[in-house]
């Protein structure tokens, strides 16, 4: 079972996101970078499948040279190989990204291509679908459970308070959602192994077209609002109604 996991390097912001003066980018000077949470779960899921069925896990990302940090993190978690579609670091829109990915992997024999449902920064929701289309694979999005059995994949996604269950044949493209698993932290030996591994570097060609970012806009900040519900026992009814409102209890 050979699995490809596509990930993206995204900034890890605080509660306030600072924009550059020309509003063309997020100021990342003081920020760390991470992997989109959905994709971190995809890496974890891929490693679990490999642990069960054998095979390899390859991680791929499109981005600047610094994105190799995220590839190494994935390899430290347990991925075997990594491919960097190396760009100048500027944002590529979903069309350009998916073209580059499809070009890079079409000659490789992946049984399962896992994506995050959407990236944590731009949230385009498109790359998995576009890659599936280009490779002519079956595709499922928003998946929160998978099982693999005899050349097909059984996947579930949340719908209407329950789960929709699908079965599709492999090879397939599946985009996952956070919550499907709890991703592991890389171990120290894992980190050491990852450090020594080679990353395959491909320089993709960017085709014209696609979405163009005009500018970012920060929504107005919401001030924190504190409401004291009451003191001691008298606070209980109000507290209960809020917990009900939030859907934690139904009676």
């Amino acid at each position: 079972m050979n699995i490809l996991v596509c990930i993206k390097r995204v900034p890890s912001p605080g509660t306030r996101i600072v924009l550059s003066e020309d509003k063309q980018e997020i100021v990342t000077k003081n920020l760390g970078f991470t992997i989109s949470p959905h994709e971190e779960c995809a890496i974890e899921e891929a490693i679990r499948v490999k642990e069960k069925f054998g095979g390899t896990v390859t991680v791929l990302t499109l981005g600047g040279s610094l994105a190799s940090e995220q590839l190494r993190y994935a390899m430290a978690m347990g991925a075997d190989e990594a491919i960097l579609l190396q760009t100048d670091g500027k944002e590529w829109d979903p069309m350009a990204t998916s073209n580059a990915i499809s070009d890079a992997v079409k000659s490789k024999d992946f049984d399962l291509l896992l994506f995050g449902n959407e990236s944590a920064d731009y949230g385009g929701y498109q790359v998995a679908i576009r890659v599936a289309y280009a490779l002519n694979h079956h595709c499922l999005t928003g998946v929160k459970s998978i099982e693999i059995d005899e050349g097909q994949i059984t996947a579930g996604r949340e719908a209407f308070g329950g789960m929709e269950i699908f079965k599709i044949p492999l090879p397939a493209v599946v985009s996952l959602k956070e919550g499907i698993n709890l991703p592991r932290y890389p171990s120290l030996p894992g980190r050491m192994r990852a450090k020594r591994k080679q990353i395959e570097i491909i320089e993709p060609i960017k085709l014209p077209g696609g979405i163009e970012t005009k500018q970012f806009v920060s929504p107005p900040e919401l001030g924190s609002h504190v409401e004291i519900l009451g003191h001691g026992v008298e606070a209980v009814p109000k507290l209960l109604s809020i917990i009900k409102e939030l859907g934690f209890i139904h009676k």
């Binding site: 890890s12 605080g14 306030r16 003081n30 760390g32 171990s187 120290l188 980190r191 050491m192």
Partner: protein, 838 residues
């Protein structure tokens, strides 16, 4: 919500460990109407306290830092937030083993129980350590961890119960208003507070807040990397936070500290990563906290390998993950010591910055006492912010020195080790002559001073066995036998010493005499032209300074003090100037340079270049007058810190080179050599029993104990007089003594030479403690080339302070026999001072 205070006695800015300790101790000392501000939320406002590893290793080579740590441990225990775990520093190299033996010396000096361990014994205490790659360990059972956030909360609660504190979190300081040179208002995002005092306890942000008031706190935020690995199966059954000793892997500059089911690995090995206080992100912009910056993996990778090497099974567990990794910010200063005390620039604005968790409560108490009484129980000598001259407050200097210092955090630092970065800040007019003479320069207060001259190499042959050698590399590091040879020339012929680093203050005005009398212990109402050596005391009678003051006129005095103490002394003098402007203070340090000329031939030699009469009758010891040398106006002072006939010759800086050349040329007929500070500061001084501020003299001791009390006390009142009079009536519990080493031979047969700070033991090997709980240790160690002895100075309990008493000195984990030679200030060499007065 309570309304925001409009006025306060004191505003404490920053609610990390330091700010909390400050309000706690001020409250204990009776302060009220205090306000504690932080721009972050409580209990963790986002400063360095919040991500600290919170462990306390008690043993440090510095007495001041050790005393502060011990006090902090005591306080943390009283608060119930201390967990004793023990700590082991492991050595991978023979050099480090030697350093661990040196740590044994320090632990015994400061009275802390420690042991040297074999690799096997390390393994018994810390079973996860790979004993095959270590040579041994240094175990201190009293090491432990604290909950610093909880400590802060408890301290605030104490103040709230006493109703003396208003706490305002999420409150940012926007400006600091100064009026008539003193802090008057703190402007915040929630309103303005009129205040009498303000204390900056803002850790890495301190320089920024100080700058708002026009003050300067010289520190830089710097990265210390830390990761946490877990859950580890060995720690599965750990109850509470810590069960195994903390391990410091000294040679890799890393530590490993259990925290519940995880192991924290911290490093001081990576490249120095400095930040700017203004560039630290805000709380809102930070993904963790402002001082927990994104981890830069590549900087940590080598340390990962080393950690794995030391703890292969534990940290190599595949199931355990790196769950937390940060580039944590902490504060670094140009000399590694904290920044405490009133800022030089703004009255009533205090700094309590660059403080580690391990010293927080001790420093809180120290600064609170200092603010309340004008002195503190523990001497803040090395931490006093006024020690820094202007040049040291520049970004250039701070960044250069902190970059150099960072990797020395766990380094093996020789007590005489010199900085290599940003040198040649202050040079005397003689510098280039000295360079030609092969001077080896040591730095003090930014000045380059020759420690010895390689051009004197030939003297080693001349003096042969009279110059002792030091066969052990450590003892001989940053040292040369040439120093002892230069010493002998000074005692037998004549030598010239560059003393330009002196700090010189001229005092004048109608109130000058009263003012000087008020500042000093000894009688200053002397004849014009007389020079007086005198201590300056703290209000409780401990040493604040010791220096020489000359009466230069009916209403004028010249104060000469050491360069290293100049900053502190200057602030002390300025702080006490009368408010009526009757005294004028002028810092003349840079306008004058000084050459000391001493030796039995000094009179003949200097006389050969002046028409003024230098005979003993015409120019008495302890007097100063103007003379002419080669047409230059020289202010000559007949005095000597090396106990020899001669003069300190002061001339305006522009004429310094000419003075040097004139003396040098004249000296050729008398066999003159240049002598370095190795002679002036140690060998010449120690055999004459002269004391040094910061070594023998500190606020813990008084002039009676130091043997500096004179027979009579002047009528005039002076700072510390009451305490001084009381001490004179009582029997001292300790006396400063001069001891000689009877045998230098170590167990390996190599002769060893103590360097200072070693404990003095009785013949049973027990450390000596006086009636006030003060431990006996070597304050200065050095050769006495004139007598062939190696001398030590130490305060001894009175029962041991008798000539002939046999004792031991403990050095590098071995004991050496010593004999008390002198109790008190009588010189060991030339006890009648016949040379100096000849």
């Amino acid at each position: 919500m309570s309304s925001f205070p409009k006025n306060a006695k004191v505003v404490v800015i920053g609610a990390g460990i330091v700010g909390n300790c400050m309000v706690y101790h001020l409250a204990k000392l009776g302060w009220n109407n205090m306000v504690l501000l932080d721009k972050g939320p409580l209990p963790n406002p986002g400063g360095s306290t919040g991500h600290a590893s919170n462990f306390l290793f008690t043993v440090d080579h510095s007495k001041e830092m050790t005393l502060l740590t011990l006090d902090s441990v005591k306080q943390y225990k009283e608060l119930g937030v201390f967990t004793q775990s023990g700590g082991i520093e492991v050595a991978r190299t023979p050099e480090r083993m030697e350093e661990l033996r040196r740590r044994m010396t320090s632990s015994k000096s400061w009275g802390i129980e420690s042991f040297l361990l074999s690799p096997k014994e390390v393994k018994q205490l810390a079973p996860f350590v790979n004993e095959e790659i270590i040579l041994g360990g240094f175990h201190t059972p009293s090491v432990g961890v604290v909950d610093s956030l909880r400590a802060g909360t408890l301290m605030r609660e104490y103040c709230m119960e006493k109703d003396v504190l208003t706490i305002s979190s999420n409150t940012e300081v926007l400006d600091m208003v100064v009026k008539d040179g003193a802090i008057s208002q703190v402007v915040t995002s929630r309103g303005t507070i009129d205040t009498e005092f303000a204390i900056i306890c803002c850790g890495v942000w301190s320089p920024r807040i100080a700058k708002m008031a026009g003050a300067n706190i010289p520190l830089t935020p710097a990265v210390h990397q830390m990761i946490s690995v877990g859950p580890l199966s060995l720690f599965e059954n750990t109850v509470g936070e810590i069960e195994y000793p903390i391990v410091r892997d000294m040679d890799t500059f890393c530590y490993e500290r259990q925290n519940g089911s995880e192991m924290e690995v911290g490093s001081y090995a990576h490249r120095p990563i400095l930040h700017e206080p203004d560039d630290i992100p805000s709380i809102e912009e930070s993904s963790l906290s402002p001082t927990e910056l994104p981890f830069t993996e590549e900087d940590f990778d080598p340390q990962l390998e080393q950690a794995l090497e030391l703890m292969p099974e534990l940290l190599g567990e595949e199931q355990a993950g790196i769950r937390y990794a940060i580039n944590g910010l902490l504060s670094l200063t140009p000399d590694g010591f904290p920044l405490l005390g009133e800022t030089v620039e703004v009255k009533n604005l205090w700094s309590a910055a660059a403080v580690w968790i391990k010293e927080g409560p001790g420093i809180g108490r120290m600064v609170a006492e200092w603010m309340t009484n004008g002195y503190s129980e523990i001497d803040p000598h090395h931490s006093d912010i006024s020690r820094f001259y202007d040049y040291a407050k520049s970004k250039t200097h701070i960044n250069a020195r902190t970059s150099e210092a960072f990797n020395k955090t766990y380094g093996i630092v020789h007590p005489r080790e010199q900085w290599s970065s940003n040198r040649n800040i202050r040079i005397s007019p003689f510098y280039f002559r000295q360079k030609e003479l092969g001077a080896v320069f040591f730095e003090t207060a930014g000045w380059e001073r020759p420690q010895w001259y390689e051009s004197n190499q030939g003297l080693l042959e001349e003096y042969g066995d009279r110059v002792n050698k030091r066969p052990h590399e450590w003892d001989a590091r940053w040292w040369s036998p040439i120093i002892n040879a230069e010493h002998l020339v000074l005692r037998e012929r004549v030598a010239m010493v560059d003393l330009t680093a002196f700090a010189i203050f001229d005092i004048s005005g109608p109130g000058a005499l009263d003012y000087i009398q008020h500042m000093t212990v000894n009688q200053m109402n002397v004849k014009v032209g007389n020079a007086v050596y005198t201590p300056l005391l703290t209000p409780d009678g401990g040493f604040k300074a010791d220096l020489t003051i000359m009466r230069t006129g009916e209403q004028s005095f010249r104060i000469v003090t050491g360069g290293g103490d100049g900053g502190r002394d200057k602030k002390w003098f300025i702080d006490h100037l009368p408010k009526d402007n009757s005294v004028h203070f002028m810092d003349c340090t840079s306008s004058l340079c000084t050459i000391g000329v001493w030796g039995p031939l000094a009179r003949k030699m200097v006389q050969s270049v002046t028409e003024d009469d230098l005979s003993n009758e015409a120019f008495r010891f302890g007097t100063a007058k103007e003379i002419r040398i080669g047409g230059m106006k020289i202010w000559a002072l007949r005095i000597s810190y090396v106990g020899e006939l001669g003069w300190e010759l002061y001339v305006s800086t522009d004429q310094g080179l000419k003075l040097w050349d004139t003396l040098w040329e004249a000296g050729q007929n008398y066999g003159i050599v240049p002598a370095g500070i190795g002679v002036y500061g140690t060998t010449g001084r120690i055999e004459k029993g002269y004391r040094l501020m910061g070594a023998e003299l500190e606020s813990e001791y008084n002039p009676i104990e130091a043997g500096l009390a004179r027979r009579k006390v002047k009528k005039a009142d002076f700072i510390g007089k009451q305490a001084y009079m009381k001490a004179r009536k009582e029997d001292p519990t300790a006396i400063l003594c001069t001891l000689s080493v009877d045998d230098h031979t170590s167990s390996s047969g190599i002769k060893r030479f103590m360097q200072g700070n070693e404990p003095i033991l009785n013949l049973d090997g027990k450390g000596l403690v006086d009636g006030e709980g003060r431990r006996s240790y070597v304050t200065t160690a050095g050769a006495s080339p004139s007598t062939g002895k190696y001398l030590l100075m130490a305060y001894l309990p009175v029962e041991y302070a008798k000539p002939g008493t046999k004792l031991l000195v403990y050095y590098m984990a071995e004991s050496y026999p010593v004999t008390v030679e002198i109790a008190g200030s009588k010189p060991y060499f030339d006890p009648d001072d016949s040379r100096i007065k000849s």
